[in-house]
C-alpha cells in the first residue's frame, strides 16, 4: 500500500528537454503571431472599404480574434513545456500568485481589464470615448492598454486598468452616430421662440444631418446670456466636427440675420462660462 507522503511528492514540473518539441512551439508561436498580424492588418484595411455600417464590426473583431488566438497558443504550448497534473498546477499557481502579487499586480490587472473590455464592450475600436479627460476615437484595444486618437491627432495610450477606477464615457456605443452640440450665447433681449425655430431649421438643412435621429434646441437662461444648445446627430461619426462647424457657422449667420447680438464675456467671467460648458 502507497504511503500518504508519496501522494504529495511533487512530480517533475517541466518536461525533459529532449521531450520538448521546440520546432512545434516555434511553429505555434509563428502561427499565432501571423494570425494576429493578419487580423490587425486585414480587418482595419477591410473596415475602410466595406459599407460604413459594417466598419465598426470589422474593427471590433480584431481584439476578439487576437484574444482567441493567444488563448489557443497558450493552450497548445503549455502541455508541451509543462508536465501538467494537480500538484504541478498548485506549484505554478502559487508561484504565479506571488509574482503577480508583488511585481506584476498592475500589469495583470490591466490584462484582466483588457479581457473584460473585449466582452463588456465599454469601448470598441472605432468608438468615440472620453477616459480620464482624454477624448478621441479608439484605434486599438489591446490586452494591456488601449490607444485613442484625439481630434488634435495625438495618440493617447491608456492602460485598461482605468476600467476599474475611472468613468468611461462612450459617445456612440457601437452605433454609427453620436450627438453633437453647437452652443450659442445670445444677449437676452430677443424672441427665444423665433431663435429656436431658426436654429432648428439650421440643423434640418445641414448636409451632415442623420434624418432618423431627433433635432433639439435647448434654451437656458444664465446670469449673463441666453444659452442655446442645438443638438443633432450626423449620419457619420467621423463628420462630427464638420457637423458642429457647419451648425455653428450657419447658426451664427442666421442669428446675425435676425439682428440679435451674441453675448460677450468679460475676462473675469470666464470661469463661470467654463462651468456652463
Amino acid at each position: 500500500m502507497e504511503s500518504t507522503t508519496d501522494k504529495f511528492e511533487p512530480s517533475q514540473l517541466f518536461n525533459d528537454l529532449q521531450d520538448i518539441n521546440f520546432l512545434q512551439i516555434g511553429l505555434i508561436l509563428v502561427g499565432v503571431w501571423a494570425g494576429i498580424f493578419l487580423a490587425r492588418r486585414v480587418l482595419p484595411f477591410a473596415a475602410e472599404r466595406v459599407p460604413s455600417q459594417l466598419r465598426l464590426y470589422f474593427l471590433g473583431a480584431v481584439p476578439i480574434i487576437r484574444l482567441l488566438l493567444m488563448a489557443l497558443g497558450v493552450l497548445l504550448i503549455v502541455p508541451i513545456l509543462f508536465n501538467i497534473n494537480f500538484q504541478n498546477f498548485l506549484v505554478i499557481a502559487g508561484g504565479a500568485s506571488v509574482a503577480i502579487g508583488f511585481a506584476f499586480k498592475d500589469y495583470v490587472s490591466s490584462l484582466i481589464a483588457g479581457v473584460v473590455a473585449i466582452f463588456e464592450k465599454p469601448y470598441r475600436p472605432g468608438d468615440w470615448v472620453k477616459i480620464n479627460g482624454d477624448y478621441g476615437e479608439v484605434q486599438h484595444v489591446g490586452l494591456r492598454a488601449m490607444r485613442l486618437v484625439t481630434p488634435g491627432d495625438d495618440m493617447v495610450t491608456l492602460p485598461n486598468l482605468h476600467l476599474w477606477t475611472k468613468n468611461v464615457s462612450n459617445s456612440n456605443d457601437g452605433t454609427q452616430t453620436l450627438m453633437c452640440i453647437a452652443h450659442f450665447y445670445l444677449q437676452s433681449d430677443h424672441d427665444s421662440v423665433q431663435i429656436s425655430e431658426v436654429l432648428n431649421n439650421v440643423a434640418m438643412t445641414s448636409a451632415y444631418l442623420h434624418y432618423s435621429r431627433p433635432v433639439k434646441v435647448i434654451v437656458n437662461a444664465t446670469a449673463w446670456a441666453t444659452h442655446y444648445q442645438l443638438k443633432a446627430y450626423p449620419f457619420e461619426l467621423r463628420d462630427q466636427f464638420d457637423f458642429i462647424t457647419d451648425l455653428t457657422i450657419r447658426g451664427k449667420a442666421a442669428i446675425a440675420e435676425l439682428g440679435v447680438s451674441e453675448a460677450s464675456v468679460a475676462f473675469d467671467q470666464s470661469s463661470e462660462l467654463a462651468a456652463y460648458r
Binding site: V50, P51, S52, Q53, Q176, V198, N201, V202, M204, T205, S206, A207, Y208, L209, H210, Y211, S212, F235, E236, D242, T245, D246, I249, R250, A254
Partner: protein, 394 residues
C-alpha cells in the same frame, strides 16, 4: 410577340414596397469568375464577336433605335391609377402623391399632364426660393391640377423651406383634385425637414421594371424609329436579347441583368442600353452563321446591333467624401447651378468637386445646370449607401 403578361397594366404600389430586381445568380457568379480570370490573366472563351470588331454606334443611330420618347407603359399606369383614384368612393383626399426615382431626363408626370392638357402649377423660380415673406399658394380652379415635382419648391437652406411650407399648407386645405409628383430623395428629406408626410397622403410609385417590362419599353422606343427590324444581340453569347421562350418569358439573362443594373428604373435602363450598343466596325465583314430571325415581333432582321457589358463609373476614394455631398445635394434637388450648390452645401470647394464628378461621368451639365447623370445613378446610390448617407425609400 408580346404576351398578355407584358401588356398588363401594373398597379402603382405604396412607397416602401418596391421590389428591387436582383442580378441572376448565374451572372453574378460569372462576373466574379471573370474578375478572377482578369486578375490571373486567363483568356476568356471565344465571344460571339470580338470587341475589336465592334465600334460605338453614332448618336444619331442611338436616337433612332432607343429614342427618348417617354415611357408609354408608365403613362398607362399613371392613367389607370388616376382613373381609379377619381372614381373610388373611398378616396377621401383630394391629393394624389406619386414618388419617382430621380434622374429623369424629362419629368414623367409633367409629360403625362401636358399630353392630357391638365393644368400644371407654375413652380417659383429658384432664385426666389430664399426670399421671404412667401405669398400663399393659390390652387383654385377646375379639373385636375398637377404639381410635377416638389423638389423644385425648396432649397436645403435655412431660408429655403418657406415656399414648400406654403404649398403644403395650401394642399392640406384644397378641395381641388391635385396630382403631386416628388423624387424619392426629396420626399425623404421633406418628410424630415417639413414633415411633408403629415400633410400629404400615403405616396405611391410604379413597380420596378423587370425583364419583361423592360423588353416592352425597349421595343417601344425602337419602334418609334424608322428602323423597326433590328436584332439586338449580346456580344459574348450572341443571343437575341429580346427573344422570348415558349412560356412567354425572356430567354437569356441580359434583360434580367439590365433590370438589376438599372434598379428597375426605365430611364436608367434605356441609357445603359444606349451606352451598350455597338455595331460592326466599318470595313469589318462579320459572318454570322448562327444568326436567327429576331423574335421581338418583327418578321425579318435587316440589321444586327450588338450589346456589350456596361461598365459602371467609379469615384476615386481620396475625393469621395466631398464629392458624395455634392451628389447627395443634387439628388435632393434634381437640378442646381453651381451657385445654388454652394448655398446648400457646407463650406467646401464646390467647383473642384463638380469638375471631378463631371470627369468621372456622374454629372450632366446642361448649360450650367447640374444634375446627377441618369446612367450613373445606380453607382452613385451605391456609393451614398456605403458611406452612410440618408437614403431614399422606395
Amino acid at each position: 410577340m408580346n404576351t398578355s403578361n407584358e401588356n398588363a397594366i401594373r398597379p402603382l404600389k405604396p412607397v416602401g414596397e418596391y421590389d428591387w430586381p436582383s442580378l441572376p445568380a448565374e451572372r453574378t457568379v460569372l462576373s466574379l469568375l471573370d474578375r478572377v480570370k482578369d486578375l490571373i490573366g486567363v483568356i476568356d472563351d471565344e465571344p460571339a464577336i470580338k470587341s475589336e470588331q465592334l465600334q460605338r454606334t453614332t448618336e444619331k443611330r442611338d436616337d433612332s433605335v432607343a429614342s427618348f420618347v417617354g415611357c408609354e407603359q408608365l403613362d398607362k399606369e399613371i392613367d389607370s391609377a388616376i382613373t381609379t383614384w377619381l372614381q373610388s368612393p373611398d378616396s377621401h383626399s383630394p391629393v394624389y402623391l406619386m414618388v419617382f426615382p430621380p434622374c429623369q431626363q424629362r419629368n414623367s408626370l409633367e409629360t403625362w399632364a401636358q399630353a392630357r392638357a391638365y393644368d400644371i402649377l407654375q413652380t417659383p423660380p429658384r432664385e426666389a426660393l430664399l426670399e421671404s415673406p412667401v405669398n400663399a399658394v393659390e390652387l383654385q380652379g377646375e379639373g385636375i391640377l398637377v404639381i410635377p415635382e416638389l423638389s423644385s419648391w425648396y432649397l436645403r437652406h435655412r431660408n429655403g423651406l418657406g415656399h414648400i411650407d406654403s404649398l403644403l399648407c395650401a394642399l392640406s386645405t384644397t378641395t381641388r383634385p391635385c396630382v403631386v409628383g416628388c423624387n424619392s430623395w426629396a420626399w425623404q428629406f421633406l418628410g424630415r425637414a417639413v414633415e411633408a408626410n403629415q400633410y400629404l397622403p400615403e405616396p405611391v410609385m410604379f413597380q420596378a421594371f423587370d425583364s419583361l417590362a423592360l423588353r416592352q419599353h425597349l421595343i417601344h422606343v425602337a419602334r418609334e424609329s424608322d428602323e423597326d427590324r433590328i436584332c439586338f444581340r449580346e456580344s459574348t453569347t450572341g443571343d437575341d436579347v429580346l427573344a422570348l421562350d415558349s412560356q412567354g418569358d425572356v430567354k437569356g439573362d441580359y434583360l434580367r441583368s439590365l433590370a438589376a443594373q438599372s434598379l428597375g428604373i426605365p430611364w436608367v435602363a434605356q441609357l445603359v442600353w444606349r451606352q451598350s450598343l455597338r455595331t460592326v466596325r466599318d470595313g469589318d465583314a462579320f459572318e454570322d452563321e448562327a444568326a436567327e430571325p429576331p423574335e421581338n415581333g418583327q418578321s425579318e432582321a435587316l440589321d444586327t446591333l450588338w450589346l456589350v457589358q456596361y461598365q459602371k463609373p467609379t469615384l476615386a476614394k481620396e475625393y469621395r467624401e466631398a464629392a458624395l455631398l455634392v451628389l447627395h445635394a443634387l439628388l435632393l434637388h434634381g437640378k442646381l447651378t453651381q451657385d445654388e450648390l454652394s448655398f446648400v452645401l457646407p463650406i467646401m470647394r464646390v467647383s473642384a468637386q463638380v469638375q471631378m464628378l463631371k470627369k468621372a461621368g456622374f454629372l450632366n451639365d446642361d448649360d450650367g445646370v447640374l444634375s446627377c447623370a441618369s446612367i450613373a445613378y445606380p453607382a452613385a446610390r451605391q456609393y451614398l449607401s456605403d458611406s452612410g448617407f440618408p437614403m431614399d425609400n422606395l
